[in-house]
Symmetry: C6
Subunit: 79 residues, 6 copies
């Protein structure tokens, strides 16, 4: 798909917050694979970061990935 | 991603209602990470809090996070 | 978040139908937390209850919450 | 919510197809609870049954409910 | 709902690919149940098969059904 | 559905990244099955790869497939 250095070697994270940040990364990665040009992505970002609908839609994708990562980490349960 | 104080140390909450409120927080955090300016976010909020479609979309994101948090808490089952 | 009386103390319901009604309540609660004015919400409702897209989007949110509540109740299995 | 006769007493169905039909019913019920007027719903239906986006969105809601019902029936596994 | 011959007797498929094809079938069936006219559906298809948003939305519905079918088949695990 | 060579024989992948790439493939396959013309798809791609909403929607579909594939691989847990 792309011969890049590995960018996802594990879903395990030390904390829920690190899991959330990984979810943000995963949600952006699909955009990157479809639109590889950093210039175009930067341009698009200027638009959508001021568009409430796009921000909510982005947050939705993060939520789906966070569900997966939380399950992978057994919800970081301490007991 | 941002060097902020920790904002998510556990998914465990004492009650379903506290879990729901955490779900609201998680759904807003992705917006904050994409649009860090509090001024812009306040402006956007004035628009979308009067837009039924945006409110329903927000509620959808909360529902996805609530599913994750409910599972993390074994649904707060008492038996 | 809001100092209201508790509105969600358990996800357990006696029947699937009561679970569905709880799902409706949960999907509306996120809207209420984002738009606390009852007047504005009533106004928005006049619009979206005649808008097929908004009604379907609402139904989608109910479906996500119903999935969570159904799991919490072990699907109300009788056997 | 509404004092109607019970319309959902179990999620168990004899076959996957009956489960799918129940999913269709559940996805319509949320619309009915938000827009109780049968006349308005009939009118809206005339519009959205010719609107590809609305049909796809409806199908999405059915898919979410079907996932819940399938889990409730242990996927109708025969073995 | 419709007195048609049975169209869904099991969620079990021999391979992931057959499961994916069943997911496509399930996502189309909800459209068929809401818009039974084959003529109208054919017309709508001419439009949405050239509309990127509709194609992505369709793909989303397939993804939800595929998740259900994959779980039903225990992910076709070989070990 | 299409008499093509098999394109999906297993959901098992050696790494999370390979699982993510399979999720991208699955999300595109539904589009291919609905719009088989490569020319039309290329044309559509020129449009949606510059449309933030479409890119986010695509990323959402990838997230749903990734959840399925991650579960199939028991989240690539090492312990």
């Amino acid at each position: 798909m792309m011969s890049t250095p590995p960018w996802l070697t594990t879903l395990e994270t030390p904390t829920p917050q690190a899991g959330y940040e990984l979810a943000v990364k995963l949600s952006r990665m699909a955009v990157k694979l479809t639109q590889p040009s950093e210039d175009v992505r930067r341009e698009l970002r200027h638009v959508y970061e001021r568009d409430a609908d796009a921000l909510i839609a982005s947050s939705h994708v993060v939520a789906v990935h966070f569900a997966t990562i939380a399950a992978a980490n057994d919800y970081w349960r301490t007991t």
